[in-house]
């Protein structure tokens, strides 16, 4: 089946980010269609399309919008989660930089559907240049009446603001994002109440990922049925896959979720580097369990990857070839999680540091066999004991590498050094065999 990209079709065009270009390609027609409908009808349409959140959890977007407490006397908000910080994920970056009006249109439709007048795009602190692109696009949209008072003469008011974070992974958690938007520390809130009831400034709020909102105009243009048929059941619509690691052509690839991991890695991304063999795949950003080369025929859909024992998450597919030391991988990722833990919950704050220290010790060849059980025990003491999903995310690299590559840990301990000819060592001038 030939598939024509919907989200990223024009991203290579030099002017793809301008409003003029966007309008030449059916831009804001989705918003026009939405404004001709009743808000409930828009929500029903999105529900019928089966659109699932692209941020990681895959929660149905239409349901999320329906849960927004519309009877509340308070204003409602859309908070667009553009804090794309998951290692191995860079799809929202591309969308916002090369196709910003698609996101703005999605925000406007979302606001209309849930009865909001304001959408905040919470953008990752490091995306300074992307923020400039977005703000330019928002200015253009205001100037042509796609945002602001009385959008397209419909009587609907909509403002979109870009808020740049201060650079914290945890701000990508929806309640931490709201805290950060309010000017507080990016730490998660207790749930319930959920943001749909008590969200930004205590008002009903829908928090949606960039790619999710970018899909909304497409649903309005193409219809729910067409959209849901694109891809396997309950996994409809186009999906962006970020392929990184040891492949010949890393990048963002758009495909319906009927595609398999093998097709994505070997055909779209050109396969692993010459002379190397595939060792493992992390299919959904750094915080999901590893899949092995034997599982390449796994369908790259939310349900397909879950069936294979992992999660599609943010679809950040990290490809690892035989030069990758799995102990080093875990240490590297725990360095990240230790640094990014917000510090609110005891197990995560203290445990990630402990795990990192044990891993560093093993990686340097000073580990003992008992450390492996300790790693498992500490990781299990963190998992499920924290307020948000960060704790579970942080221990996954440890537990999954221990499960599939325990022999590498044992080799480190027995030999006192890493036994793999890892090319990062060669680059850094670290001797493989001291």
């Amino acid at each position: 089946m030939s598939f024509e990209p919907l989200l990223t079709k024009h991203v290579r065009e030099p002017n793809s980010f301008t409003l003029d270009f966007y309008l030449q390609h059916e831009g804001y027609d989705g918003l026009r269609k939405a404004l001709a409908m009743k808000p409930e009808e828009v929500i029903d349409l999105v529900k019928a399309s089966g659109l699932r959140g692209r941020g990681g959890a895959g929660f149905p977007t239409g349901m999320k919008w329906q849960f927004v407490d519309k009877k509340s006397p308070n204003p409602k908000y859309i908070a667009c989660n553009a804090d794309e910080s998951e290692p191995g994920t860079f799809k929202d970056h591309l969308l916002m930089e090369r196709n910003p009006h698609l996101l703005i249109e999605g925000c406007a439709i979302g606001c209309y559907a849930i009865g909001a007048k304001i959408a905040y795009i919470y953008i990752r602190g490091e995306f300074f240049h992307v923020q400039q692109v977005l703000e330019r696009a928002i200015d253009e949209a205001y100037a042509r009446g796609f945002l602001g008072k009385n959008v397209l003469g419909s009587g609907f008011d909509c403002d979109v603001y870009v808020h740049r974070g201060a650079g914290a992974y945890e701000a990508g958690e929806e309640t931490a994002l709201l805290e950060s938007l309010e000017g507080k520390r990016a730490q998660p809130r207790n749930k319930p109440p959920f943001p749909a009831v008590v969200g930004l400034y205590g008002c009903p709020t829908a928090v949606n990922n960039v790619e999710t909102l970018a899909n909304v105009p497409i649903i309005l243009m193409k219809g729910a049925e067409w959209y849901s048929k694109l891809g396997p059941e309950k996994n409809g619509g186009p999906k962006l896959f970020c392929i990184s690691g040891h492949v010949k052509r890393p990048g963002v690839y758009e495909a319906p979720m009927t595609v398999t991991l093998g097709e994505l890695i070997n055909e779209r991304a050109g396969g692993v580097r010459d002379g190397r063999t595939l060792k493992a795949v992390i299919p959904g950003g750094s915080s999901v369990p590893i899949l092995l080369p034997t599982q390449l025929d796994t369908q790259a859909s939310f349900d397909g990857v879950q069936k294979a024992g992992s999660l599609l998450g943010s679809a950040g597919i990290i490809v690892l070839d035989d030069t990758t030391c799995m102990v080093w991988l875990a240490e590297n990722l725990l360095h990240f999680y230790r640094h990014e833990s917000c510090g609110k919950c005891t197990p995560c704050r203290e445990g990630t540091d402990w795990l990192y220290k044990i891993l560093r010790k093993i990686e340097r060849g000073a580990g003992q066999m008992s450390d492996l059980d300790l790693l498992t025990s500490v990781a299990n003491n963190i998992a499920g004991k924290t307020l948000c999903a960060f704790g579970d995310a942080a221990v996954t690299p440890v537990l999954t590498t221990l499960k599939h590559f325990r022999h590498e840990y044992e080799a480190h301990i027995k030999e006192g050094h890493c036994t793999l000819p890892a090319d990062w060592r060669a680059r850094q001038g670290v001797a493989t065999h001291p």
Binding site: S341, P347, E350, G351, T352
Partner: protein, 604 residues
Amino acid sequence: MDTVSLTIDGRQITVEKGKTVLQAALENGIHVPYYCYHPGISIDGSCRVCIVKIEKMPKLQTSCSTVCAEGMVIETRTPEVVAARAGVFEFLLVNHPLDCPVCDKGGECPLQDFSYTFGPDQSRMEFPRRVFDGEGVKGDVDFGPTLMLNRQRCILCTRCVRFMRDIDGDAQINIIDRGYGSEIATFQEEGVHSLISGNLMDVCPVGAITTRDYRFKSRPWDNPIAADTICTQCSKGCNTTAWIKAKPEWAKGAQLIRFTPRFNHDVNGYWMCDIGRFEYHWIEGDNRLRQPLEREANLGQQPISWQELTSKLGDRLAAAGTSNPEGVRFLLSAHASHEELFLFRRLTEALLGEPNAVSVSWRYQTKSQPAGSKFIVPPVDAPNVNGARAMGLAPGKVGPVDNDAKADVSALRAAVDAGRVSALYVFDPGPEGSLGDVQWIVDARASGRLPLLIVQGVVLSALARAADFVLPGASYVEKEASYTNDQGTLQGATRVIAPPGEAMEDWQILVNLGVALGVPFTYTSAARVRADIAERYANEPGLAGIATLVFGRPVAARNWLQASNPSERWKWDFMFQDMPPVKGHVDPSAVPMPIGAIPLKEVK
């Protein structure tokens, strides 16, 4: 009252709707540990030690943040919960310095107690502990004028952060950095500047925040006596506990070692201000009046016996009253209790036959607090303005004391300045300055316009130095006395310690003086005085129930430790006492545990 029923550990429990699972468990004697939860401040759900298993929920839930729902089934002791909880306790201690032997909190520390009960018996941590400001004593850093901070001991429960945000109204404390590097801090290390900063020591569940006033002065087991009382330093009447340090009779220094707030929903909640907490040193200070004094020509004030003083003073007052009743005046501080106000009133009536002879004064000073503060320290620095009103000694009726309730002694002052007063009797049982401005009395005395000045009080103030007769009375922790606070609530202060030296309880002084003056006083105790008040002011709402008012008593060690911390007391009795026959001779499991004590785990 709407209620919900739920099951905790197989027990059917009914609680008020809206309560959390943790509150339901604690109210019903089910032990669930907690750190970030504090009943007086908002819920955070971050320490994770209160996790419990709730049926139909896949993950363990924090009981502090889960509201009870009808039919909930909760387990706090299943192997899953016990193991998970022990895991969190291990995490809490991996970076805690465990310097309990030199930590002020040691012995009354929730981290110690809960770790003993719920934590693992050893840590598997082998890496060096996190150090913020330096090892050992270098870890103690300034945290404002009243507090010290030790970040190593901190477990980041954020109770202090939330106290400042929710109660103080000025969020001076927050966490800086994140994750493993998180630390409690104030802006540019300025420290906490607040009138209610001492509460931070109370809310801190470890020894991270300590008060400069109490730190290193005592350990919990050195304070064997505590008494529940009230603070009288302003019109609020906060409920407090006074702590007495045990020491041999010959040892120097104070016995009164600290004041802590005591929960009273209607008066002070869980809190008290720094004035009441820290400004008590005058009670056992060098400036205290310890014996009666009489001014002798050329010799100045000389000690005199009570007997002599009473008869001499009686003669002088009687003479002054007979020759010129208009010239005898009384100035009472609103620190005077009901008993004292009443006796003065009776005294003046009998002696002079007119109540106008009495003026009541107090200091009025507004306190600087943030606009949104939930704990307001009133400007009236006296506990009993309402009492003076009830007895008709101060203008107004018993009721909320307005914020502009300033004392008016202008008439008395004009009379003194004009030389119309031949004898002035000042009663000032509060701390120095609490009577308001008295310099005009000292000046009048110095210029010879005031022939006779009598001061009954507690501190050798400038006023007392100017007096002809000085009568040493008792401070608010040295007598059983009743006061009516600014909300019209009648409360009693406990006799925590004895008055120093020859000083006497003020009701006794007044009765003795009255007898010397021929007033037929038959009171043998303060309680008798209160009974008479109840009779004579039967319809006064501010004094209702005064005859049956219950006073606290200093409680001996065994009881207060059991009351405040049963587990700790049990441990202390059976595990750490080094003297026979306790250690090694008593099988702890054979001794019935005190009510409320948490069973200890066997340490292998």
